[in-house]
Structures are given as C-alpha cells and as structure tokens.
C-alpha cells in the first residue's frame, strides 16, 4: 500500500505491506489502526488506484496488489 502527498505526512509512512482480501477489508484494518488516516482516506477528493488503475468501488485484492491513495493532485 502506497500513500502520497499529505496522506504520507499524516500517516508517517509512505509504503507498507498490509494483507487484505479487498479494498473494503484494507480500509477496515486502517480504521482500527489509525482512525485519522482512515478518515482522511474517505475524503471525496482522495482517489484510489489498484495496480496503477483508478478504481471507484470496492475491488478484490491479490496478494501482490499495489494499492495507492492519491490526495488532490497538482503539478507544473
């Protein structure tokens, strides 16, 4: 699981291995472990990518899936 931008600052880490069978299960684990991070991930502006593809709904995860939480983006 990957965190970017202010989400990584909030959590205090950028990358971790977390065993979970689905996105919903992963969110459940985070809710128990770090409620502030869980809350931040629920914001509508935060996008979720699974294996580098944006997803809008819950999806199943494989053991090697890469989940990334993306706060509002700004380049340039």
């Amino acid at each position: 699981m990957l965190l970017f931008g202010r989400l990584a600052d909030l959590a205090g880490w950028r990358e971790r291995e977390i065993p979970a069978a689905s996105l919903a299960a992963l969110r459940g684990i985070l809710a128990a472990e770090d409620p502030a991070l869980f809350e931040a991930l629920q914001a509508p502006a935060v996008r979720t990518a699974v294996d580098q593809t944006l997803v809008n709904l819950d999806v199943a995860l494989r053991p090697d899936s890469e989940v990334a939480f993306l706060p509002p983006m700004s380049g340039g």
Binding site: D9, A68, G75
Partner: protein, 148 residues
C-alpha cells in the same frame, strides 16, 4: 513524449532539440514553469510523482491533446524531487502546422498538469511546509476545455 527528470534541466536545450530538423512544422509553442522564491517565502519546492502511473496518465492526456488539436508532436518534461527557486519545474512543447493549435495545446496540457496530473507538491519556507493543491483559478482554467 513525457519524461520525469530528477536533476535540474535547461528548458532551452529541450526546445532546441524539439525544434531540430522540423521542415514541415511551422509552429512550436512552449511553456516553462519556474520555481519562484516568492520573496524569500519559499526555499524549496518538493515534487512527488507515482512512477509508472504518473507517466501513463500524462501520456493519455498527451494523446488526447494531439488528437484534439491535430498536433504533429508534443514533449513534456517534469521535475520530481527537491527544486530550488529559479529552476524549471515543467516544460511543455507542442508542434503543429498552425500557431493557434500549438498555443491551445500547450495551454490545455498545462491546465491539465496543474490540476489533474499525478504530482504532489510541497512548499517549504521559513514558516514551515505546506502541500499545494489546485487553486480555484486552476479549476476554472481546466473547466474551459470541457465546455468547448
């Protein structure tokens, strides 16, 4: 083509290479975004990308721009990591047979990069660090392309 670059780059060199040996182009528009010192309020800018994902998302928008504006070619260079005031953050160039298409494509790609491309930008100055998010003006700029 999109390239993420970690070391400072010279936008002039990028434009020179992009223009070279073009005998049927006519028009090349470019945009260079430079890091501002904001009178001492910003010491360092830090740009984070999601390698792989970032390039792929940008390439998709490059392809959309080429199609929409009938471009011959595009180039995007984007810094990641720490950036000092005066250094180039982003360079966008578009080649077309007519200048209007080249200008509009650069403008379109920059609006996208500012508000939608997978980058996260942190400014650090004497008052501490803050994450930059798209401004209302950036959102308005982007919306222009949706209503056309």
């Amino acid at each position: 083509m999109i390239r993420l670059v970690q070391a400072p780059f010279d936008p002039g060199e990028a434009l020179g290479e992009f223009c070279r040996d073009r005998t049927e182009t006519g028009a090349v528009a470019s945009f260079t975004g430079l890091a501002r010192a904001e009178s001492g309020r910003t010491d360092i800018l830090e740009l984070e990308a999601y390698p792989g994902f970032t390039e792929r998302e940008i390439a998709r928008h490059e392809a959309a721009a080429r199609e929409r504006f009938g471009l011959q070619d595009t180039l995007i260079l984007h810094r990641t990591g720490p950036i000092s005031p005066g250094e180039a953050i982003v360079f966008v160039a578009a080649a077309a047979s007519h200048r209007r298409a080249a200008f509009e494509a650069c403008d379109f790609l920059m609006d996208y990069l500012k508000s939608r491309a997978p980058f996260w930008k942190k400014e650090t100055g004497p008052d501490g660090a803050r994450w930059i998010e798209p401004t209302e003006r950036d959102q308005d700029d982007l919306a222009r392309w949706e209503t056309q």
